[in-house]
Amino acid sequence: MEWDWEFVRQILPDLFSGLKITIIATVLGAAFAAVGGLVFAILRRSGNRAVARSASFLVEFIRGTPLLVQLYFIFYVLPDLGIRLPALLAGVIGIGLHYSTYAAEVYRSGIENVSRGQWEAAKAVNLSVRQTWVHIILPQAIPPMIPALANYLIAMFKETPLLSAITVLELMNQAKSLANSNYRYVEPMTIVGVFFLVISLISVMGVRMLEVRFAPKDDR
């Protein structure tokens, strides 16, 4: 099997347009997950037992089932209930919802890691609930979360090829259709692999930097 550079040059523009969709889906999905995760984390802390229980169950359920099947569910089942979503939107919702359950876990541990004394001190100096959260808890809880959240961002990026299964024309789908119409699999599939490898290696380096930057200060 020969590696054909001419063919590579031919398909690169299409692959780049696929990469653009991949990145758009990742960014939108991440935004969805960041907000959704916060909602899940707050619901799980709710004083109302029924709310907390059902939020926990939902999180467990979403984490315990494959993203691909959830995407199928959103893409094929919702239209029967009268909700018709464009493929990309369905994909963003699916991937965002899936990762919001992971983000919720990060938020939860981040919030729980703020020591009890901080809550008590806030109460002692008579801060309101809002002031406690905004000025005391969140500024301490968020920095340690950042590397973990960034890791999930990379994981999300690597899951976006699944969107090709619900007809989103992202990188993987572009590669597949190019491969099928030209009967050449080596170049498209390899280039997709290289794209993913390069982008995630760069982002992993970024995460390492974040980890150093936001490393918990050892003051024990």
Partner: protein, 219 residues
């Protein structure tokens, strides 16, 4: 009236494929994780480099891309794998790469004095690993291994895209034949959830078993 019994049977067939994929994949992953995890702690630079390359490569690319590459590109190099073999291989190697980091982290978190004590007692390297280090490191690995096994179970759904008739594939067939979307997809969601619950319970029980007697030894 749709003959649901037959269609549910189809999905159950798929469930067995999913189960055997998960089991075989986990077995490959476990071996790969220990080989690469111990390899990363090796004295030899070449072994370390090999292990790091393996881990970074499989963690860096998407499992989907790996699967397609193995299934469509390897045959061009005269290596033809059945969808099941390709699935087990890719799932195992992919999750194994994540497991390798777990193995490495757990072994490194065993206190240094334990290693030094082994040297003082003139243990061989094998004895040191087998009797001293691993029994202490294993309980640390288990919870993450459980999560990895669940990730592997979830990743098996991707194999349906290279036409292996697992649960997700069968659900798509049922959808195509009946036109009903809700029943097949809800059924497999519930089945997947049951399987992942079983995995996490089983790991929890096993963890309890092997940490028996370690109470009070560590915080």
């Amino acid at each position: 009236m749709t003959d649901w019994a037959g269609y549910i049977g189809l999905i159950i067939d798929g469930a067995f494929v999913t189960l055997s994929l998960t089991l075989c994949g986990s077995a490959v992953a476990l071996v790969a994780a220990f080989l690469a995890g111990l390899g990363r702690l090796s004295r030899f630079t070449a072994v370390r480099a090999l292990a790091v390359t393996y881990v970074e490569f499989f963690r860096g690319t998407s499992i989907f891309v790996q699967l397609f590459w193995v299934y469509f590109v390897l045959p061009l190099f005269d290596i033809s794998l059945s969808p099941f073999q390709a699935g087990v291989l890719v799932l195992g190697l992919n999750v194994g790469a994540y497991g390798a980091e777990v193995v490495r982290g757990a072994i490194k978190s065993v206190p240094r004095e334990q290693f030094e004590a082994c040297i003082a007692l003139n243990f061989t390297q094998y004895q040191r690993m087998r009797y001293i280090i691993l029994p202490q490191a294993l309980p640390l690995m288990l919870p993450t291994f459980g999560n990895n096994a669940i990730e592997l179970l979830k990743a098996t759904a991707v194999v349906s895209l290279i036409s292996l008739s697992d649960m997700t594939f069968q659900a798509q067939i049922v959808r195509a034949q009946t036109g009903n979307t809700f029943v097949p997809f809800l059924t497999i969601l519930v089945l997947y959830f049951i399987m992942s619950t079983v995995i996490s319970r089983a790991i929890g029980l096993y963890e309890k078993r092997i940490t028996r007697g370690l109470d009070g030894v560590r915080s």
